[in-house]
């Protein structure tokens, strides 16, 4: 009896999680395949995109890693590059410290698989009390990683054989983040932190350029949130 109940809880969470991941399925399959094709035409076997997407599981770094694999061996530079590109994940962890409490053996995997998209869904999804939160987040993470890895492997196998007009499909990720931003905006009483986030990022993008604006952006966001902490807390400008 106990067995069936826990199985039901897991199945229920999986069924509830799937629809949340559909936009990511579209985006990750497209981007994953693009990545696999890119590795294929760069002369790597499909095993490379398969294993790299499985272990690194972070889109932008994987694209950069292709270039690094084709350059002379420079381990320290690789590590610094990886830390800089992925630094934004520090923010996700800080935001999920409470959410991941009590998720037991699933916790290491939830942290391992926390890419931009998975974090955004797990943070913002409205999960009813009847659904187990830990299992919900587990399936969101697992499905998203499955989409990414299978897309990358498929792209690596098919290589440049596929050509269909998918120009612009990558906008699906932008659209998803716009919707999540909007949902957050409609939900919060005070928009101070949202305005800080978007304004600081846009200004840093203009000042520092597309390739190196993320670290200054993160530093400036932290600075603003720290300096204005009292008024932000007072206004309740937090979800």
């Amino acid at each position: 009896m106990q067995e069936t109940t826990s199985k039901q809880i897991i199945a229920q969470a999986a069924r509830y999680a799937f629809p949340h991941t559909i936009p990511i399925f579209a985006g990750f399959w497209f981007l994953g395949m693009t990545y696999g094709i890119y590795m294929n035409v760069s002369g790597f076997s499909f095993l490379y995109p398969l294993l790299m997407s499985l272990t690194i599981f972070g889109g932008s770094l994987e694209f950069v890693a292709v270039k690094m694999l084709l350059s002379p061996f420079a381990p320290l530079q690789v590590l610094i590059m990886a830390l800089m590109i992925q630094a934004r994940h520090l923010f996700y962890g800080i935001s999920m410290l409470d959410s991941f409490k009590g998720t037991g053996f699933k916790k290491p995997y939830l942290i391992f698989g926390m890419c931009d998209e998975t974090f955004s869904i797990n943070y913002s999804a409205k999960i009813p009390n009847t659904i187990d939160r830990g299992w919900f987040m587990f399936f969101v993470t697992l499905l998203n990683q499955f989409y990414w890895v299978s897309g990358a492997a498929l792209g690596g196998i098919l290589g440049s054989l596929i050509s269909f007009n998918t120009e612009g499909l990558d906008f699906v990720m932008t659209a998803m983040f716009v919707v999540i931003f909007l949902e957050q905006w409609l939900k919060e009483k005070n928009h101070a932190t949202a305005v800080i986030g978007i304004t600081v990022s846009a200004l840093c993008r203009i000042c520092f350029g597309a390739d190196s604006f993320m670290i200054p952006t993160m530093v400036c966001i932290l600075l603003f949130l720290t300096v204005f902490r009292k008024s932000i807390e007072k206004a309740g400008g937090m979800a």
């Binding site: 294993l51 830390l83 962890g93 932008t174």
Partner: protein, 108 residues
């Protein structure tokens, strides 16, 4: 690069990524109470992060050249309009994406 050097390169990418994902959880264990400042950041950051991610997705758009970011602007407006109208996440995302694909494939 030899195979060993390739493996080391990939392993360092994994190490860098996992450091950024695991560090907050290692620094603030669930056994000890999280410092008030970090708790505050945990609540104040997400809205700022989502704003940052929108800009991050649009980072390669050039306002001064090419299409001046017009297809992106129109598609983002379509997403916002659809979402405020129907409040259906999947519809807003799919509608905005189709709109963008039509714009870049046929108009711009």
């Amino acid at each position: 690069m030899t195979l060993t050097q390739q493996i080391i390169t990939i392993a360092l990418c994994v190490l860098g990524t996992m450091t950024t994902r695991f560090l907050p959880f290692l620094l603030f264990s669930s056994k000890k109470p999280t410092p008030k400042y970090i708790q505050y950041l945990g609540k104040a950051l997400p809205a700022a992060i989502f704003g940052m991610l929108v800009v991050y997705c649009l980072k390669n758009v050039s306002i001064l050249s090419g299409n001046h970011g017009l297809p992106e602007l129109l598609a983002v407006l379509a997403v916002i309009w659809l979402h405020l109208w129907k409040r259906q996440m999947l519809l807003s995302i799919a509608g905005g994406t189709v709109c963008y694909m039509l714009l870049v494939q046929f108009i711009f």
